[in-house]
């Protein structure tokens, strides 16, 4: 409390200063507002609780006007995020078959069914593998490319801008390209491997869950590398060159410079890149639909596509909503850590 008091006094006097400037300019309502009683709280002693919304609005007229600018965004967030999420939760505790119908309340039954469903478990494991493998390779390859291009050389700027191209393709387009490239008979990847005598007969990439997941992960890594490379490149640029030069003069090896200068200084950016990577990756939907459609035999379902399949194809909307909510809860756990990790950045910005 003692710590807080001087700050409030300061804000109050600052505010009074602002009002008096306004009064000098000659706005009439500013004069009336400048009466200290209208503040309703602060060091003058009048308790804020008595004031009510109307008083608060009058005493904080500027804040109220500025909040009005935020109202459309707030409305949109309530209508298109809060409401659907709550609605999605109610769907998950009801017995709903076809998505257009509604059904009776059945508690957590859908969750129980889905946790015991082997497909859900496999989808959960596949999502985890997909996430870890994608992020690991996107990040390491991205970091490799970023550090390679952070040494300036002939064409480096031009090549750097070309590397972003895969990231700007709509994912469904990238998925289509690879679906054609990985096609089992006559696809360019099989043909190349055959002509190099690396394989003796065509590989049918989509006939086992393992191979199908491999392809999905491979494509997702390809899509994610540019994003990682671009952000890590800008992170590397922010590390002052003097640090590296000074340590080189002091006799630090390349590895030591990487380990003791680049890694710690790149940590904040890396954290953000990885967190954003988790968010983009866990939402992945289109790649699976175009590459495998969850097959063979639901072997390459992720949580997102499994929720879709349950709701829109198996007509088990309640269960689909339950799976979607499990995914949502996972994302919120990640979000919690993301916000904790970036709190400092948020405070600075």
């Amino acid at each position: 409390m003692n710590r807080k008091l001087p700050r409030e006094e300061r804000t109050l006097s600052e505010r009074q200063a602002t009002w008096s400037v306004r009064a000098k300019v000659g706005a009439n309502e500013a004069l009336t507002l400048a009466r200290p009683a209208d503040y309703g709280h602060g060091t003058s002693g009048r308790p804020a609780r008595q004031a009510g919304l109307w008083h608060w609005m009058r005493s904080h007229q500027r804040q109220a006007i500025l909040l009005a600018f935020v109202v459309p965004a707030l409305t949109y967030v309530i209508l298109f995020f809060a409401y659907p999420l709550i609605y999605g939760f109610t769907m998950s505790v009801e017995k709903i078959g076809f998505i257009g119908q509604s059904g009776p309340y059945i508690g957590l039954h859908n969750y129980r069914v889905e946790i015991n469903d082997p497909v859900t478990r496999e989808a959960l494991i596949d999502t985890a593998i997909f996430l870890v493998a994608s992020l690991f390779f996107q990040f390491t390859i991205g970091l490799g490319i970023a550090s390679y291009f952070s040494r300036r050389f002939f064409l480096s700027g031009f090549l750097r801008s070309l590397i972003i191209i895969p990231w700007l393709f709509p994912p469904i387009a990238s998925g289509t390209i690879f679906a054609i490239m990985f096609a089992g008979q006559g696809g360019i990847i099989d043909e190349t491997l055959l002509s190099l005598h690396l394989i003796s007969s065509p590989i049918f990439w989509f006939d086992s869950a393992f191979k199908a997941m491999f392809v999905i992960i491979f494509v997702n890594i390809w899509i994610g590398i540019p994003f990682n490379a671009v952000l890590l490149y800008s992170g590397l640029q922010d590390i002052p060159n003097e640090l590296r030069e000074a340590s080189a003069l002091d006799g630090a090896s390349v590895w030591q410079r990487f380990r003791y200068i680049t890694v710690p200084l790149l940590r904040p950016v890396s954290l953000i890149v990885i967190m954003l990577g988790i968010i983009y990756t866990v939402k992945t939907f289109d790649l699976v639909i175009v590459l495998t459609n969850g097959g063979p035999d639901n072997g390459s379902q992720l949580m997102s596509t499994w929720a879709y399949t349950l709701a829109f194809q198996n007509f088990e909307t309640g269960q689909g909503a339950a799976v979607a909510n499990m995914l949502f809860i996972f994302c919120m756990i990640v979000a919690f850590f993301y916000i904790r990790a970036t709190r400092r950045e948020v405070a600075v910005a």
Binding site: A27, R62, Q63, L66, L67, F69, V70, P72, A73, L74, Y76, F80, F81, P84, L85, Y87, G88, I99, I145, Y148, F153, S156, L159, S161, I163, I164, P166, L168, F169, P170, P171, I172, A173, I177, F178, I180, Q185, G186, I188, W222, L231, S234, V269, I279, V282, F285, D286, I289, V290, A307, Y308, F312, F328, M332, A335, I339, T342, E345, V346, A349
Partner: protein, 287 residues
């Protein structure tokens, strides 16, 4: 020792001159190989499956695949353009005043409001679309918004609006505070300050936010796929999928469509790279 060191330096310089650009070319080439394959196949005269993989350099180029792609998907391209532009107008229209309000509230030291708003905006970006789309489907069903462009504009803005607000807020934070203070001292209302002082200055930020919203909506597949089920409104992403799954003969045509779908991104990369990079940094790093 001295000689070795000198030789080392010599090779070091050599490496910088030649090896680095060559390595860079190899890395870029590997990354872009699928893109090359796509463009090459879409221009190749014969589009049968075998022919695609046999020659990496076609003998001559034809545009017949693109003609086919246009015949097949021109309606989808128009639909996607309308949806993406609508999403830009809606998202930026909501995000611009919100960013202004949040920036100015920051000046008034309303720390709590700002942190809550930013946390909400960050969290909304982390909500998986599949968790929203089931509810969207039911609500849109009752409001007759399924299979409609307005419905998809509303749904697609869930990707763009929070990001646009964060980018615009970061941008407005870099506009000197003195400008809006001066407008205030001159007796301008908040609305007038917003309209005549800050919004015109924020145009580069608006362009960045708009480009991203456009790309998000243009590339959206989840809502395009689920909220148009069985209908005749077909955004390009959904069009590519059905063209691909229904077509086992002409892969060249499918790949030509893929190239068409990448054109907006290509244009943005060529002409707006500055904005894209700025947006990436502002949206991702500054929170």
């Amino acid at each position: 020792m001295n000689v070795r060191r000198r030789m080392g330096l010599f090779w070091h310089r050599r490496a910088r001159r030649f090896a680095l650009p060559i390595g860079g070319l190899v890395i870029t080439g590997l990354m872009l190989l699928p893109i090359y394959f796509t463009i090459e196949s879409s221009l190749a005269p014969s589009s049968s499956f075998q022919a695609l993989s046999q020659s990496l350099v076609p003998s001559h180029f034809v545009l017949s695949n693109y003609r086919l792609a246009f015949d097949e998907e021109s309606g989808s391209i128009v639909t996607s353009l309308l949806i993406a532009l609508g999403a830009v107008v809606l998202s930026v229209g909501i995000a611009l005043p919100a960013a202004y309000g949040l920036t100015k509230l920051g000046y008034l030291k309303s720390r709590a409001v700002i942190s809550v708003a930013i946390i909400v905006l960050l969290v909304t970006q982390m909500v998986p679309g599949i968790s929203l789309t089931l509810a969207f489907y039911k609500v849109f069903f009752h409001l007759h918004l399924l299979n409609s462009i307005p419905g998809l504009i509303l749904a697609d803005s869930t990707n763009g609006m929070p990001f646009a607000t964060l980018v615009l807020r970061a941008y407005m934070g870099s506009i000197p505070r003195e400008l809006s203070d001066a407008a205030y001292v001159d007796g301008a209302s908040e609305w007038r300050t917003f309209r005549s002082v800050i919004a015109p200055l924020a145009v580069p930020g608006i362009v960045t936010a708009g480009l991203f919203v456009f790309l998000f909506a243009w590339g959206d597949f989840l809502y395009a796929y689920t909220l148009t089920a069985g209908g005749n409104v077909t955004p390009l992403t959904k069009g590519i999928l059905s063209f691909f799954t229904n077509n086992t003969v002409n892969w060249g045509g499918v790949l030509a469509t893929v190239v068409l779908a990448a054109i907006p991104s290509g244009l943005i990369l060529s002409f707006g790279q500055r904005y894209v990079m700025g947006g990436l940094r502002a949206g991702a790093l500054k929170g």
